[in-house]
């Protein structure tokens, strides 16, 4: 056995105008969890795509268990023993768990001249595999009936069934609850004990320090180094990732909350398992954090305030007046904006320009003679916002999909600011955004609060919730279970409320 299970040596990859990877080397020991870290755009996913043959690397070599290998595509990688559990799982929800595990390589038996799928063997084997990932579940069940964490376990079972030697987990915990994270970690530890090497890509520092043996850090397409996890601290990792000491993750909050602007009284969803009897007050100039586990119905509640979801009972008061919000247009009219959690899925218009993306929700303001859009006014709006929020873009005609996550988020913030809203609801405002851009977004939030706007921030990052909120309302299972002020907030007291299921 070689000293390293997987070695990628001197990997370089250029795209027109960008050197995405510059002589990157990473060595993964057998039976270890190896964390790969870096800001967005540091080259982690490019490196993994080179490993899977999705990108052809310009230079470099890959060794698997000491042997040089040449990987053609993801399927080839799988057959050589390298499996990836992707950030966005791509399962077939309408088919059974077993079929998803054995997709493309169903066990067959001979019936006369035909080869037919051997269902019994498939289900039996699938059952055994599921047991290995600590899942006692009927392999005949439709995959779509599982939770995201269970689907992940199925993906891992699939990797196990291919007797993978290297398993890559890309942001595996981004949508898991704490219990599910624990379950995943148990599976990871099992795999490690079996001698499997795991490459673990995540932005969550505390997890990295808990689960990994080695940590490799990348910055701007370059390899910074590899350390043993026990030598590292969160601050040390951040410093290595950004290449400078970040003394403060959050800008100082100097906004002052004022009078109430939005009140929810007994707001209840039309769906039985969603939010119930929610009372909530939001003040001008306040950043209100909305904490809770995934599934606590925070997003659903805010979507109801914005008119995307329906409420069965309860009242919403805006500036002291009762309002009815049936669709987003009503909310926008009342001065509410919503930045959704899934930026790519429900936020940006990828194929449209920055200008279109900024102006789309406020076009009514730029109409001349009742019908003609005034391009000059739109251009001014866009250039003002590009300057004010320091959006990094070559021009206002650039397609938004070519910008980084942080800049896309700033474009969406601009879209709402164009309507001069009183309330901005931000659902996971910094998800998938690198450390530097996060700080800028925080500063924008504080500036808005100082202008008297009220912000509701849903966040699953504890540090962000505690660092940015004047007040934190915690939900669990559709109900508000507690409230803490920003000063008193700790991970412990938030967690206490977030898990208060009764």
């Amino acid at each position: 056995m070689s000293e390293y299970m997987l070695e990628m040596r001197g990997i370089s990859k250029s795209f027109p105008g960008v050197k995405a990877l510059d002589n990157v080397t990473i060595k993964v020991r057998p039976g270890t969890v190896h964390a790969l870290m870096g800001e967005n755009g540091a080259g982690k996913s490019t490196l993994m795509k080179c490993l899977f043959g999705i990108y052809k690397m310009d230079e470099g070599e890959i060794y698997l268990n000491g042997e040089p290998v040449h990987i053609l595509n993801a399927d080839d990688a799988l057959h050589k023993g390298i499996a990836m559990v992707h950030q966005e799982l791509q399962p077939i929800p309408e088919r059974s768990i077993a079929e998803n595990i054995f997709c493309g390589r169903y066990p067959v038996r001979q019936v006369g001249p035909l080869k037919v799928v051997d269902h019994k063997r498939m289900y039996d084997e699938a059952y055994e595999l599921l047991k290995q990932v600590r899942m006692e579940y009927d392999p005949k069940a439709k995959l779509g009936t599982l939770s995201i964490s269970q689907m992940q376990s199925v993906e891992i079972a699939k990797a196990v069934s291919m007797s993978a030697k290297v398993v890559i987990l890309d942001e595996p915990t981004s949508s898991l609850t704490d219990n599910e994270v624990e379950a995943l970690f148990r599976i990871i530890n099992d795999l490690r004990d079996q001698g499997v090497s795991i490459i673990y890509i995540s932005h969550k520092m505390d997890e990295i320090l808990r689960i990994s043996d080695d940590v490799s850090i990348m910055r701007d397409g370059q390899y910074v180094g590899t350390w043993e996890a026990k030598e590292l601290t969160i601050d040390a990792i951040i410093a290595k990732m950004v290449g400078r000491e970040l003394t403060n993750l959050f800008p100082p909050r100097d906004n002052v909350p004022g009078e109430p602007i939005l009140e929810l009284k007994g707001v209840t969803s039309i769906l039985p398992n969603s939010f119930k009897n929610v009372n909530l007050t939001l003040r001008r100039g306040e950043i209100l954090g909305l904490g809770g586990l995934v599934g606590a119905q925070r997003t659903e509640l805010m979507e109801a305030v914005f008119g995307i979801r329906n409420i069965a009972s309860g009242e919403i008061y805006f500036k002291g007046k009762k309002v009815t919000i049936k669709r987003p247009k009503d909310a926008i009219r009342d001065g509410i904006g919503l930045i959704t959690e899934d930026r790519r899925g429900t936020g940006i218009f990828g194929v449209l320009s920055i200008a279109d993306n900024v102006s789309i929700a406020s076009l009514d303001q730029y109409v001349d003679a009742g019908i003609v859009l005034n391009d000059a006014k739109i251009e001014k709006l866009v250039s003002d916002n590009v300057a004010k929020l320091s959006i990094k873009t070559p021009s206002s005609k650039t397609l938004i999909q070519s910008l980084s996550g942080g800049n896309q988020q700033k474009v969406i913030i601009s879209r709402w600011l164009a309507n001069n809203p009183d309330i901005l609801i931000m659902d996971e405002p910094t998800r998938g955004i690198d450390v530097g851009a996060k700080y800028e977004i925080y500063q924008i939030m504080i500036d808005l609060a100082k202008q008297g706007k009220a912000i509701i921030m849903i966040s699953s990052e504890m540090a962000e919730l505690i660092g940015m909120s004047d007040r934190i309302v915690v939900m669990c299972n559709g109900k508000v279970t507690g409230e803490v002020s920003g000063e008193e907030a700790t991970q412990e007291n938030i967690m206490h409320f977030a898990t208060k299921f009764n």
Partner: protein, 329 residues
């Protein structure tokens, strides 16, 4: 730097390969058959292009919002038939409505548009509120409109049109057919609509990301209904003009025009993935297709083979479009 430039050049060629092939074909045909370049042929092509362009403009809105309108051709046919029944010569022996008084042409046009818009409105509502995939919704509508056309005309072919009606298609202004100007005006109108109005911006936004459009406060249903109604209105106009051009109409007028219109839009860069498409591109797409047909006619290629070529061009056009999209991933 040089390398990047040559890459771009390659990209330009591969993305416009159909247009380049057709242009080469035009050059070839002009050399082989010199009267291909005659003024007469150009006026001929422009007349054909005019009607097709109006249909393609209509369907483009549906395509840009990731929809479709397969009832286009049948709506064109119904429009042509309604116009035909209302604009026959008073002394024509086979007159459809023997006692019909002489109606003003503009009134007939309005009637045709109004009736066709009903079907567009239904298409839009079915797509928006019942969430039936546009492909299926308008496929059903295609059959319904055909049936209505059969019921209405009793499958009798129409002819004997008034001269003031057929003049719209045959008339010329300084040697340029009226149809050319009409198409130009519609093109200008649609360009304005797509680029300078809220409706246009909302249309591109819905095509780009429907959920995000909803979240941005856009009334998606209303915008889609407008798009399908406008499409039917344009099909009605096209049918009206087509009848004038042909001097007659039957239940088979406009058959499968939607497929050509979709192909023309796609060749002209309207993406089947939504959110992308320009009026100028659609014009190029229509011209390319009409030049292709005209070239094949000049080369005396058997009509049966022309269909095979046209079908292949449609598939290749969509394949190339999707390739552009896939390459981005």
């Amino acid at each position: 730097m040089n390398k990047a430039k040559s890459l771009d050049f390659k990209k330009v060629i591969s993305e416009n390969i159909l247009i380049i092939i057709v242009l080469l074909m035009v050059v070839l045909v002009s050399i082989l058959k010199p009267n291909f370049l005659s003024l007469n042929n150009f006026s001929n092509i422009s007349v054909n292009t005019a009607v097709r362009f109006i249909i393609a403009l209509g369907i483009s809105g549906c395509l840009i919002t990731k929809g479709n309108d397969l009832s286009a051709g049948r709506t064109v046919g119904l429009g042509a038939c309604i116009a035909g029944t209302l604009l026959q010569k008073p002394d024509y022996s086979g007159k459809f409505f023997p006692n019909l008084p002489q109606l003003p042409i503009w009134l007939v046009l309005l009637i045709v548009i109004a009736i066709c818009c009903i079907f567009g409105f239904i298409n839009g509502c079915v797509v928006s509120f019942w969430k039936v995939p546009p492909f299926i919704a308008t496929l059903g509508m295609q059959t319904i409109v055909y049936g209505i056309c059969l019921v209405y005309t009793k499958a009798v072919p129409l002819g004997g049109y008034r001269k003031d009606y057929t003049d719209i298609a045959s008339g010329k202004f300084f040697g340029v057919p009226y149809l050319f100007f009409i198409a130009f005006v519609f093109g200008l109108f649609m360009w304005f609509l797509y680029n300078k109005t809220r409706h246009g911006k909302y249309m591109y936004a819905i095509g780009g990301n429907e959920v995000a459009a909803e979240v941005s406060g856009i009334n998606v249903s209303r915008t889609k209904i407008k798009i399908y109604v406008l499409a039917s209105a344009l099909f009605a106009v096209a049918g009206f003009l087509l009848g004038a051009k042909a001097g007659g109409a039957s239940v088979n007028t406009g058959l499968s025009y939607e497929l050509e219109a979709i192909a023309e839009c796609t060749i002209g860069g309207v993406s089947t993935n939504g959110g992308v498409g320009k009026v100028s591109g659609i014009l190029v797409g229509v011209l390319v297709f009409e030049l292709l047909k005209s070239s094949m006619q000049f080369l005396k290629i058997d009509t049966s083979w022309q269909y095979i070529v046209q079908g292949a061009v449609i598939i290749v056009a969509v394949a190339l479009d999707l390739r552009k999209y896939l390459a981005k991933k």
